[in-house]
């Protein structure tokens, strides 16, 4: 059973391969993403994060989820030498962490319902569990940043998360007007595989911001593998990335 909805400004797909899956379970997952969007969207004035940024909500009244996300952001900032930072121009923006966190929580809801074979995908970030309906590990393509209709790699995952950060625009200068007007042109995408999508996504986000050394940061993290594509179409990958390749034979 599989369904796709447009939520949080992106397509979200849930597929459950367990034979006894119900529509209610899918609906519950989508309802959860709707809840997250209502709470964490920077673009909805009624969201809690917008209320916080408008100084309309004192810290003592933050919801448990908001406190959790802030604590996770703080921890991630420390783990990434400050490359992950939610404070910008006096505003708090935890959305770089919320997406992976929400996907992982959605996957946990499915696990609590007893499902063992599924994936949850939001905007190209995925958490998988068990096997696909073809009774094999989930086959996940890594998108070609030069041509979004192509894939350049297929990885096989049974349990874990895979996230891609990227610009996908070759030869164009990406500037951050709030910072140093430093163009980011050399790296187009960085895909990270980790124990779950929350872990994979937050480190993909931080490592991508590091530019070319990002893949070395992923290499330094135990339990994570990465595949980085530069603007010349050259991919650089971590030492054990190959073990996830769909056609790997050497282990």
């Amino acid at each position: 059973m599989k369904d796709t909805r447009l939520l949080m400004g992106m397509p979200i797909t849930v597929e459950i391969a367990d034979p006894e899956s119900t529509l209610d379970s899918l609906s519950e997952v989508f309802a959860y993403f709707h809840y997250v969007d209502e709470k964490f969207s920077l673009y909805k004035n009624t969201s809690e994060i917008a209320q916080i940024n408008h100084r309309k909500l004192p810290e003592s009244q933050y919801s448990p989820d908001m406190k959790t996300v802030f604590a996770l952001c703080e921890e991630t900032k420390k783990l990434t030498d400050g490359f992950f930072d939610i404070k910008h121009s006096g505003r708090l923006d935890p959305s770089g962490l919320v997406k992976g966190w929400a996907i992982h929580n959605a996957a946990q809801k499915l696990r609590h319902h007893g499902y063992r074979h599924f994936y949850v995908e939001a905007g190209g970030d995925i958490e998988v569990a068990g096997l696909s309906s073809r009774h094999q590990p989930w086959q996940i393509g890594i998108r070609n940043p030069f041509n979004i209709r192509q894939i350049v790699k297929v990885v096989a995952l049974t349990n874990g998360g895979i996230a891609t950060s990227g610009t996908y625009f070759r030869g164009q200068h990406v500037y951050n007007p709030k910072k140093f007007h430093r163009p980011i042109t050399d790296i187009l995408s960085l895909t990270v595989i980790g124990p779950d999508i929350y872990e994979a996504d937050r480190f993909a986000t931080a490592a991508f911001a590091m530019g070319r050394p990002g893949i070395e940061f992923i290499e330094s993290l135990p339990g994570f593998e990465g595949y980085q594509i530069d603007n010349q179409g050259v991919a650089t990958f971590t030492t054990a990335f190959n073990r996830y390749l769909s056609d790997a034979k050497d282990y």
Binding site: G9, E15, Y43, E75, D81, F83, D85, I86, H88, S95, K99, G123, G124, S132, Q136, P137, W138, I140, G141, R143, P145, F146, N147, I148, I151, V152, K153, V154, T158, S165, T167, Y168, F169, G171, Q172, H173, Y175, P177, I184, S189, T191, P195, A209, M210, P213, I215, E216, E219, G223, I229, G233, V234, A235, T236, F237, T239, S246, D247, A248, K249
Partner: protein, 156 residues
């Protein structure tokens, strides 16, 4: 409180890592859990287009625009806004500049990469395998296309 949290995380991470390594040694190392190998890594002859401009350029950009600079709408990519400015010369797009982009991470610190192992590189190649799902940064590119389209609308 914070220290306890971090210390707790370190312990949990260590245990989780040990567990993962254990799982890898039982599970993913076992050939029986592998998918059947496939011949999906054959080079695709179409790939010569990779380095010759197959990046997503707007289809409508063929010489119909008025010269000047146009700023697109700021478009929500969830991670932040994307906003572009296009420059049209001789009726064609000659430059696309990002005015805003969800690069909201501090980049002021250098990463210490002492004694890193040599990483492997390869030229990317398109694959023709059937996949269940695709990982990629789509949300931002859709916002890019929207902002670019709104800039080009002004250049009509």
């Amino acid at each position: 409180m914070k220290k306890t949290f971090i210390a707790g995380f370190v312990v949990v991470s260590f245990v989780a890592y040990a567990f993962l390594e254990q799982v890898k040694s039982w599970g993913f190392g076992d050939d029986s859990t592998l998918p059947p190998s496939r011949s999906n890594s054959a080079p695709n002859p179409n790939l010569t287009t990779l380095n010759s401009g197959s990046s997503p350029k707007p289809q409508t950009a063929a010489g119909h625009f008025k010269n000047g600079q146009y700023t697109g709408d700021s478009t929500d990519a969830f991670y932040g806004n994307v906003q572009v400015r296009v420059t049209i010369s001789s009726g064609k797009i000659t430059n696309v500049q990002f005015l805003d982009y969800p690069q909201d991470r501090d980049r002021s610190l250098a990463i210490n990469t002492v004694a890193m192992p040599q990483l492997t590189s390869e030229a990317i190649q398109a694959q023709s395998a059937n996949v269940d799902v695709v990982s990629g940064a789509t949300a931002t590119s859709q916002a890019f296309v929207q902002s670019l389209q709104s800039a080009l609308n002004q250049a009509q």
